[in-house]
């Protein structure tokens, strides 16, 4: 896969004329910033975005998913109780 920095793309826009998948990198920090895909992958991207929206909607289900008998228990108490399994 071809790796390019944003400034390399700015300097030579022809890089965007013929590609399949480009890895966009921050060369100073050595970090991958993201991927640039050819337009023919639109269907895949749409599917990915749809799945993401569905995952986000599902995450709403976290609200009220537990009904505890100890609502006053602090995180520290919970951790101590959890760790006591290893005693």
């Amino acid at each position: 896969m071809q790796s390019l920095s944003v400034s390399e793309i700015q300097r030579n826009l022809q890089n965007l004329n013929d590609f399949d998948v480009l890895e966009i990198v921050d060369k100073k920090r050595n970090v991958v910033k993201g991927y640039f895909l050819d337009g023919r992958y639109k269907a895949l991207i749409d599917e990915l975005l749809k799945k993401r929206a569905s995952n986000r909607k599902n995450l709403m289900g976290l609200i009220g998913s537990v009904s505890s008998q100890q609502p006053d228990q602090t995180v520290d108490q919970l951790r101590d109780e959890h760790l006591s399994k290893y005693e």
């Binding site: 995952n55 986000r56 289900g61 609200i63 009220g64 009904s67 100890q70 609502p71 951790r79």
Partner: protein, 141 residues
């Protein structure tokens, strides 16, 4: 798009309908999801959340909750070098810093999060100035 790191007590307050801060946390969580913010947490935090869910419900519910979280929330883990870097930070800091909480703050910063959300007002209060991210409460979102 802001990045938020979610602390253990945030997950517990959102999930447990009997906790005092549940409504506040649920509202906050809905706002975060509507804003399309990127959400982060750590594997350590999720271990405690899983223990909590299974304790009060059952394994089936625990798996359902962990599926919901793992499909959408970005999970961060600490590497060897993360522990070594954190140790250096803590060696020169306040002796009252809590190691476990400090690691969460460190991981939030490492993930380039803008905010860490917690209901604990004293969370890493002696260490916050070392990092650029802000520690905020439920009503600050």
């Amino acid at each position: 798009m802001n990045k938020y790191f979610l602390d253990t007590n945030f997950f517990l307050d959102v999930a447990d309908s009997n906790r005092e801060r549940h409504s506040l946390a649920a509202d906050c969580f809905q706002r975060l999801l509507e804003q399309e913010s990127r959400l982060f947490t750590s594997s350590d935090i999720l271990t405690t959340v899983a223990y909590f869910v299974q304790k009060h419900e059952d394994l089936t519910q625990c798996l359902k909750v962990m599926d919901m979280i793992a499909n959408e929330v970005e999970i961060v883990c600490a590497s060897n070098s993360d522990f070594l870097k954190l140790n250096l930070i803590l060696q020169s800091g306040n002796s009252k810093n809590d190691y476990e909480d400090s690691l969460q703050l460190y991981l939030a910063d490492k993930s380039d999060c803008d905010y860490l959300i917690t209901s604990d007002n004293k969370f890493c209060q002696h260490l916050r100035e070392v990092f650029t991210l802000k520690v905020i409460g439920l009503s600050d979102v």
